[in-house]
Homo-oligomer: 396 residues x 2
Amino acid sequence: MSELYRTFVSGFCSHDNIKVPGSGRGPLAGTSFAVKDIIDVAGQTTGAGNPDWYRTHEPAERHATAVARLLDAGADLVGKTITEEFAYGLIGENFHYGTPVNPRVPGGVPGGSSSGSASVVAAGEADFALGTDTGGSVRVPASFCGLYGIRPSHGRVPLDGILPLAPSLDTCGWFARNPELFRTIGHVLLGVQPSGAPTRVLLAEDAFELADAEVRDALAPAIAAVTAQIGTPQVVRPGEMVGLAGYGEWQTAMQVTRGSEAAASHLAWMQVTDPEMGPGFRGRFEAGAKYTRAEISEAITRRAMIEGYLSGLLGEDAIMLVPGAPRAAPQRGAEEAVYDDLRDRNEFYNCAAPLARLPQVSLPLGETASGPVGLGLVAGHGNDEMLLDLAVTLAN
Amino acid sequence: MSELYRTFVSGFCSHDNIKVPGSGRGPLAGTSFAVKDIIDVAGQTTGAGNPDWYRTHEPAERHATAVARLLDAGADLVGKTITEEFAYGLIGENFHYGTPVNPRVPGGVPGGSSSGSASVVAAGEADFALGTDTGGSVRVPASFCGLYGIRPSHGRVPLDGILPLAPSLDTCGWFARNPELFRTIGHVLLGVQPSGAPTRVLLAEDAFELADAEVRDALAPAIAAVTAQIGTPQVVRPGEMVGLAGYGEWQTAMQVTRGSEAAASHLAWMQVTDPEMGPGFRGRFEAGAKYTRAEISEAITRRAMIEGYLSGLLGEDAIMLVPGAPRAAPQRGAEEAVYDDLRDRNEFYNCAAPLARLPQVSLPLGETASGPVGLGLVAGHGNDEMLLDLAVTLAN
């Protein structure tokens, strides 16, 4: 094995390297691409740069979304490319499969971990290639091989069908020799550019089901106003996203993230100062300190899944409707159970924006017998102005 | 104390409630605002809703950036407002200071934790107010009190001078009764909107100092081309950001985040399968599993600081120049020390984009005697297209 490790090889994988023709139509028609072997191609086992991983896994059932978008846009897939094991490296050597050649530097390494992708593009064996960048794995091989390379904004290119390394850092990027092609690939993979005004409305049906009936009734006219202005909402049920068992798992991710970070922020001061605090408050910080490393890691993984899911759902052109709160204001001094129910139901769907770092407004467009209730609008990251503009146009 | 807990009070703090006139000029001239008592106002002790915190802390030396922006834009600060303790609550009661009245619901709680801010705006005692939203603390009181309220995209409104609760979730938002004012506050607090083309260039001098001399020389013509196209770069030294002791702390945040998430992703499979792996690879996953809960929490806090710092620096209209890699490709089979040096120097500044979730391209615009080297360009979150356009215009 160690011979291979010290041998220069083609950037293409040596195993089971199937080709998939593109649609033949679209902005990438006539171009060829390769994909790093941690990215799924239907019918082919994703190898992750490790023979034991390859041996113990089944062929992928479907293409990663990024691959599907490129095929739809007309590009032809010409093969999978060597990666450092599990994409955890920067040099570009692979103990099992060899070191992809750097066509630009005699004797030089290609850089990693997207070593094979950079290699085949620099060698002219593909017009462009997908890689991933967690800590430099597109940017560094691009620099070493004289290529255009991008690490996109976290969350902009969907990561489904791509083996995770560190979900809160992982991104799917690409290499090209030609700057115009480099840009066109971006238009295909990044989707719609921010337009300022939404063109799609999603209605989170399961979030409305969690609200009191009087809240749903009170918000119906506001939803009708949104419909009149933008269009009929597409009904969605975010709590049923694939991979998680419902909003309860969103809530857990929220509680663990908030609790553990809150404990890190303030518990030391509380332990030193022993302040007087209202009933239950210090307990929240103490409970936050008890989450285990495994619970925190799982919350991070779930959070990245939720972020990827919601950013794919919303894109740059949609808003999603939710209740601003699941009920009107409870009475002061209500049973603790009333407050707990509010906290629970709120957390189920109102944790979506915090977990996914998205903006959300509450617009005072509903009135129940028990008091006002807001309509919640969620948009893609950075599209805050889109929501603020809607606050004005929906009021008029 | 418990009497107060069950008593409705004004949303304004009862202690040391200073007023600060605004500039008198700007889009918010003639308006009044209040700020939640976890947000700094110069000369006033931030109380965090807890008397022992208030007693054991000094007056703030400067305004939070969000407060300063509002004052600059002409708004007059009329007071601090009651918060649930450490902003960790959803109901709006405060054991020590009382429950701010909900002017819209007789007997109803205002919602929290930005309870006082919602209360004073709903009562007409201020035109608008700053709150914070970690898990619903603006959105829920807005809904309960019949107000416009926003949780902005994470990272868009600077959080300096605001007491953290859970940094990866914390945001600074606002309440208003009037939708046009609600939007104008956004224009002031969110800064410049995405323009498509950058109008400012930053040059990360300390990142270039970490690169080989031949890399700096090779990239000088490309930097001159950027200067000709956009303008003279402003020299910045991100490694010297206030609050962290240099790039070494960025690197630690990166290593802990990547290592612990990578272990969560794959170590269980490795323990079951015992795969053959290249030298050093499995050790990276095993080392990642050894980071403590405290180290992970500190990495999250540092990451949020770095994200806030970089998004403030870049805004929506700037790009920052860094070397694509600190050196040209090393030779295959070089001493491990050569690779370690590359990993170290790369991580120092190339961890900025992953930690802050920002896009970065590497453009093949430099050529050294040892091989190609890229110019790195970093932009604000979501401004990927700005970087792709530059790839094309700088090539022509």
